[in-house]
C-alpha cells in the first residue's frame, strides 16, 4: 500500500484521526495538505450526490467530498467542530468533510489488523486496516479506493 508510511526504525504509522458518526477513522498523514474549518461551499450541479461543491482555498478551487455520504454513513448536522481535511492524492486535491478532528496519532504497525467483520458500517474495500489507540478502534481508510470510486460514478 503506497500510503503506508513504513518507517523501518520505529515501525510506526502516523495518522490523522477524526470522527465520523461516532466512529473513529484515520488517514495517513503524508497525503494531508491541511485541515481547515468548513467554509461556504458553492454547489456544483450535475455532480454525484456526495460532492458537496467547491471551495476557494486561497485562490485554488478545491472540490469538497462528503465523506459520510461517500462511505454510506447516516447524515449528521454540521457543528462548530466540523472540519475539512484537504488531501492530495495522485492528481486530485480533494477536501474531505469530517465531524471533528482528533489529532495526529502514532500507531505501532503491529497493532494494525487487517479489516475484519468488526466493521460492517462501511464498504470493506474502503478500509485498509484497523488500528487501536487507547482501546479506541481506528478505521484506517484506503483513500485510493475511497476517491477512485468517484471515477466509476462520474463516468
Amino acid at each position: 500500500m503506497a500510503t503506508v508510511n513504513q518507517e523501518a526504525v520505529v515501525q510506526e504509522e502516523q495518522i490523522v484521526a477524526f470522527h465520523l458518526s461516532d466512529e473513529c477513522y484515520g488517514i495517513d498523514i503524508a497525503v494531508i495538505q491541511e485541515i481547515i474549518r468548513r467554509q461556504t461551499v458553492t454547489q456544483v450541479p450535475r455532480t454525484p450526490e456526495d460532492i458537496e461543491g467547491i471551495i476557494n482555498l486561497r485562490g485554488r478551487i478545491v472540490p469538497i467530498l462528503n465523506l459520510r455520504s461517500r462511505l454510506g454513513l447516516p447524515a449528521t448536522d454540521y457543528s462548530t467542530k466540523s472540519r475539512v481535511i484537504v488531501v492530495a492524492l495522485e492528481e486530485y486535491t480533494v477536501g474531505l468533510e469530517v465531524d471533528s478532528v482528533i489529532g495526529v496519532l502514532r500507531l505501532p504497525e503491529n497493532t494494525i489488523e487487517k479489516p475484519s467483520k468488526l466493521i460492517d458500517s462501511i464498504d470493506a474495500d474502503c478500509v485498509r486496516g484497523v488500528g487501536k489507540h487507547n482501546d479506541q478502534l481506528i478505521i484506517l481508510l484506503n483513500l485510493h479506493h475511497v476517491l477512485r470510486q468517484e471515477d466509476a460514478l462520474a463516468a
Binding site: T42, I61, P63, L65, A154
Partner: protein
C-alpha cells in the same frame, strides 16, 4: 539528439522558415508585378537559404534551392519572364523544401529525392513554357518509406502520403493509425482484410496500409495489419465500421503522429565547463568547431587502439574539446563502434583529410558546432562563416560577400532586443495576474466596506489611495502580459494567399485575394485555434461564392472575382471578415433545401425572413453545393465552423445579397483566459454567462408565458422565444425542493421573472434565472480533475468577494435545452 545540436538546428530552422515565408509571399507577388526590387529580395532569400542548408550539410536541400535561385537570377536579368508553369514549378520546389524542413526538424536529416524537381526547374529556362509535368518532383521520388516514430507501427507514410495527410488535416480531418486483426480461424483472411479496407473507405480516406494491398490480397500477412486513415468521423465510428464486419477487430486506434525518427545524425556529446572555456578560446582565435561522429569498422580487432589513434590524429589537426564516451571508456573498449568528438580546427578539410588517412575508421557525420551557452552572441556569424567556406567552389566571392553583408544587415534590422520566453511561462504569468485581478477587486470592495466604519481615520485615506494604486498597476500588468502573449494574425493569414491561389487554379476560377489588417494582434490562445474555421470559410467563398469567369462575364461583373479577408480591433473584440463578390446566397434556395432535407416544414420555411433563411447554412447537415467538391470537402459544413467558433466564444454573422456577394463577420474575444460575464443567481449559486453570448436581459411577467407544444415560450418582438429554466438544467443537491421553482406554475411568489436571452442569430433561448447580479471580468479556472467535465459548464471563477461562480457554457446549454425539449429554434 543532444540539446546543443537541437539548439543549433533550431537556429537554422528558424532562419530557413523565415526565408521560406518570404519566398512564398514574394513568389505570389511575382505573378502580379515582377519588379527588380522584388526579384532582388527573392533572389537574396533563396541564396541565403541555399547557403545555410549547405552549411548544415543538407545537400539535397541546397541543390533544390540552388536550382530555384538560378531561376530567380535569370528572372532578375530579364532572361526569363514570369509564367504560370514557372510559378507552379517554384511552388512545387517550395513545397518540397517545406517537407524537407519538417523532416529536418524531426530527424536532423532529409531523405527526400529532389532530382526530378531539380530537373524540372532546370528545364524551365530552356523551354520557357515547357508544360509542367503533372507529377512534381516529390511525387516522382522513389517512395522511400520512412522509419516510424515507434517501433510498434509497421505502417509508414511516404512523402506524398504525408502530403495527402496534411491536405486532409487542412480540411479538418483527424488522422488515425489503426491496427486491425483478422480472426485467427478466418478461412479467407485476404478477403476479410480487403473488406475492412473497403469499409474504411466509406467513412475515411486511406492514406497508407501495411502490408500493402497486394500483399493483403495474397494473404501475405499474419493476422494483423495496419492502416493510416484520414477521417472526419470519430475513432468510435471507425471501430464500428470495422467491427460491423465479422471476423474483424480493431485492436488499436490512436491519433497518428507523424514524427518519424529515422536514424538521426544525433550527437550525444556535450561540452564540459572546461571544454566550454576552450571552445570560447577557439572561437575567439577564429578557429571553427565541429562535432564529429566516428565509426570504427565492425571487424576491427582493436577498437580502442583505433579510437585512440584517431584522437591523436585529430589532436594534430586541431584541438579536441570533448570526447564521448570519455577517453578512459574508449581505452577500455567501452563503446559500441561509434564515438563522438568536438574538435576546434582551421577548417573542415583538414579534419576530413586527417580522417581519410586512418584505416578502419569512418567519419559518419561532421557538423559545425555551436554551443548553446553562446546564444547571446550573434549566432549567424558562425553560420555565415560556414556558408562562405562550403559555398566557395560555387559562388563568386563578391556575391558571397554581399550576402554576408545582407545577412548581417538583416540581423540588425529584424532583431531588435527580444527575448525568447517559454510559452508555459507566459501562461503561468497570466494565471498569476488572474489571481491578482481577483484580489484587486476584493481589496477595492473591502476598502468600501471599511470606509463605512472607519471613514474618518487618516489611515483610511492612505489605504484607499494605495488600493487604487494597486488596482491601476494590476490593470497595467494585465494589459502588458496580455500584450506579451499577442501575436499578429499574420501568422495565420500568411498561409492563405497560397491556398486561395491553388484553389482558384484547381477550379479554373480567377480570384483576386485581398488581405487587410494582418498586423492585428490576437492572444496566442485564439491564434492557435482560429486558423481552421477561417480556412473553411475561405474555401467556402472560393468554392460556392465566386462564380466561374464565364458566368461573371454574363452577369456583367469583372471576370476576376474578389475575396477579401480583413481583421481589425473593435472594442473588446477582434473582428474578422471574409467577403466575396460572388453570387451571394439565395434565401429561396435555402428554404427549398431545408424543406427537402426535412429540416423544417414548407410552412415554417416560408415564414422565415430572408436573413433567417440565410442563416440556415449554419444548420447541421446542410450543404448548398449541388455536388460535393473536393474543395469545400464533405461533411465539414458551416455548422461545424460555427460551433467550433462558438466554442471560442466567437460569433459569426452573414450578410448576403444575391448576385452581389456574401460577407461573413466573425467576432472573436481578445483572449480565452479572461472573459466578461453576466453574473446571475440560480438556486443561490452564482453563474457567469459569457457576455458575448448574451443578447439581452428581460424582466417579464409570469402571465406572458405561453405554452407551445408544452414548451414554455414568450413572444418577443413578434418572435417566439423558448424559455428554459436554469433550475431544470442545473439541478442542485441541496434545497432542491424549495428552490426548484418551475416558472410556469404559481409556486414562485413574485409575478415577474428574469430572463437572459442567449445565443446567436437565429438560435436564441431565454434562460430563466432567479436574479441578475452584475457584470464582471472573470478568470476562467477549471473545476479540476476530481469533478471533471460537466455539461453546460466551462469552468468556474473566483469573484471579487472570494465567492465562486460557475461559468456557463452557452453552446452546451443550447444543446442540452434542445435535447430536453426537442426545441425548434426561431420557429
Amino acid at each position: 539528439m543532444s540539446e546543443d545540436m537541437a539548439q543549433f538546428l533550431g537556429v537554422f530552422l528558424q532562419e530557413a522558415s523565415e526565408q521560406m515565408e518570404l519566398l512564398e509571399r514574394d513568389i505570389l507577388r511575382l505573378e502580379q508585378e515582377a519588379s527588380p526590387e522584388l526579384l532582388q529580395g527573392i533572389f537574396r532569400a533563396a541564396h541565403t537559404l541555399k547557403g545555410s542548408s549547405r552549411a548544415m550539410g543538407l545537400t539535397s536541400m541546397g541543390e533544390l534551392t540552388h536550382a530555384m535561385e538560378d531561376l530567380f537570377d535569370e528572372l532578375r536579368n530579364s532572361r526569363l519572364t514570369v509564367s504560370t508553369p514557372l510559378i507552379d514549378a517554384l511552388f512545387a520546389g517550395l513545397d518540397a523544401l517545406k517537407l524537407m524542413m519538417e523532416q529536418v526538424a524531426s530527424t536532423a536529416s532529409t531523405d527526400l529525392d529532389t532530382t526530378a524537381l531539380v530537373t524540372r526547374l532546370r528545364a524551365i529556362p530552356a523551354g520557357q513554357a515547357s508544360p509542367a509535368p503533372a507529377a512534381s518532383g516529390k511525387k516522382k521520388a522513389p517512395p522511400k518509406e520512412k522509419k516510424q516514430h515507434s517501433a510498434e507501427w509497421k505502417v509508414a507514410l511516404s512523402p506524398e502520403q504525408q502530403n495527402a495527410m496534411r491536405d486532409a488535416q487542412a480540411t479538418g480531418c483527424s488522422i488515425y493509425g489503426l491496427k486491425i486483426s483478422v480472426a485467427a480461424d478466418s478461412a479467407m483472411k485476404g478477403v476479410r482484410a480487403l473488406m475492412a479496407l473497403q469499409a474504411l473507405e466509406k467513412t475515411a480516406s486511406l492514406l497508407a496500409v501495411s502490408p500493402d494491398e497486394d500483399a493483403l490480397e495474397n494473404e501475405q500477412f499474419e493476422h494483423c495489419f495496419e492502416a493510416v486513415v484520414a477521417t472526419h468521423q470519430s475513432d468510435a465510428a471507425l471501430k464500428q465500421a470495422i467491427e460491423s464486419l465479422s471476423e474483424l477487430t480493431l485492436t488499436q486506434c490512436q491519433p497518428w503522429e507523424d514524427t518519424d525518427s529515422a536514424d538521426r545524425s544525433a550527437l550525444h556529446i556535450t561540452l564540459s565547463e572546461t571544454g566550454y572555456v576552450a571552445y570560447r578560446e577557439a572561437v575567439a582565435n577564429n578557429l571553427r568547431v565541429f562535432g564529429i561522429k566516428i565509426e570504427v569498422a565492425r571487424d576491427c580487432v582493436m577498437k580502442s587502439v583505433r579510437a585512440l589513434m584517431t584522437l591523436q590524429a585529430l589532436e594534430n589537426a586541431g584541438s579536441i574539446l570533448a570526447v564521448f564516451p570519455d577517453e578512459d571508456a574508449l581505452e577500455n573498449e567501452q563503446f559500441d563502434l561509434q564515438f563522438e568528438v568536438i574538435v576546434a580546427s582551421q577548417n573542415e578539410q583538414i579534419l576530413q583529410q586527417t580522417m581519410q588517412k586512418l584505416n578502419e575508421i569512418r567519419m559518419v557525420t561532421i557538423v559545425p558546432w555551436l554551443e548553446e551557452r553562446d546564444a547571446q552572441h550573434p549566432s549567424s556569424g558562425q553560420m555565415v562563416q560556414t556558408e562562405t567556406k562550403s559555398a566557395e567552389t560555387v559562388q563568386a566571392p563578391q556575391t558571397t560577400a554581399a550576402t554576408q553583408a545582407g545577412a548581417a544587415a538583416r540581423k540588425n534590422v529584424a532583431q531588435p532586443q527580444t527575448v525568447r520566453v517559454d510559452v508555459t511561462r507566459l501562461d503561468n504569468l497570466l494565471n498569476l495576474i488572474g489571481e491578482l485581478v481577483i484580489d484587486r477587486t476584493r481589496i477595492a470592495q473591502l476598502c468600501t466596506q471599511i470606509s463605512l466604519v472607519a471613514g474618518n481615520l487618516p489611515a483610511m485615506e492612505h489605504l484607499t489611495e494605495a488600493a487604487a494604486h494597486v488596482g491601476r498597476i494590476s490593470d497595467q500588468l494585465q494589459d502588458e502580459i496580455m500584450k506579451a502573449r499577442m501575436l499578429p494574425i499574420d501568422s495565420v493569414f500568411n498561409r492563405f494567399p497560397r491556398m486561395i491561389r491553388d484553389l482558384a487554379q484547381k477550379m479554373n476560377k480567377e480570384i483576386n485575394f485581398v488581405m487587410e489588417g494582418g498586423d492585428t494582434e490576437l492572444d496566442r490562445s485564439v491564434i492557435e485555434v482560429v486558423g481552421d474555421p477561417l480556412i473553411h470559410m475561405l474555401r467556402n467563398s472560393v468554392d460556392h461564392g465566386v462564380e466561374m469567369p464565364e458566368e461573371r462575364d454574363k452577369a456583367g461583373k469583372p471576370r476576376i472575382g474578389s475575396v477579401w479577408l480583413r481583421a481589425r480591433h473593435q472594442e473588446n473584440h477582434i473582428v474578422i471578415e471574409v467577403q466575396d463578390d460572388g453570387k451571394g446566397i439565395d434565401p429561396d434556395k435555402l428554404r427549398e433545401n431545408a424543406v427537402k432535407k426535412g429540416i423544417m416544414t414548407k410552412e415554417a420555411a416560408a415564414r422565415l425572413t430572408d436573413k433567417e433563411a440565410i442563416n440556415l447554412i449554419f444548420a447541421s447537415g446542410f450543404s448548398t453545393a449541388k455536388e460535393v467538391t473536393d474543395v469545400s470537402g464533405r461533411g465539414v459544413g458551416m455548422d461545424i465552423v460555427r460551433s467550433n467558433l462558438q466554442k471560442l466564444g466567437a460569433t459569426v454573422e452573414i450578410e448576403s445579397k444575391v448576385g452581389e456577394g456574401s460577407l461573413f463577420t466573425v467576432r472573436l474575444p481578445l483572449t480565452l483566459a479572461i472573459i466578461r460575464g453576466l453574473l446571475v443567481t440560480v438556486n443561490a449559486v452564482v453563474f457567469a454567462l459569457p457576455l458575448n453570448s448574451v443578447v439581452e436581459t428581460l424582466l417579464i411577467s409570469r402571465e406572458s408565458i405561453r405554452k407551445v407544444k408544452r414548451q414554455p415560450t414568450i413572444v418577443l418582438r413578434e418572435h417566439t422565444l423558448p424559455l428554459v429554466n436554469m433550475h431544470d438544467l442545473f439541478p442542485m443537491h441541496h434545497k432542491a425542493e424549495e428552490m426548484q421553482a418551475v416558472v410556469y406554475t404559481d409556486r414562485q411568489p413574485q409575478e415577474e421573472i428574469y430572463v437572459v436571452v442567449v445565443g446567436t442569430g437565429d438560435r436564441q433561448i431565454g434562460l430563466v434565472v432567479d436574479a441578475l447580479v452584475g457584470e464582471q471580468e472573470v478568470v476562467i479556472k477549471t473545476l479540476g480533475k476530481f469533478i471533471g467535465d460537466i455539461r453546460g459548464l466551462s469552468g468556474c471563477t473566483i469573484m471579487g468577494d472570494g465567492q465562486m461562480a460557475l461559468i456557463a457554457d452557452i453552446e452546451g446549454i443550447m444543446t442540452m435545452a434542445s435535447e430536453r425539449k426537442g426545441l425548434a429554434y426561431a420557429a
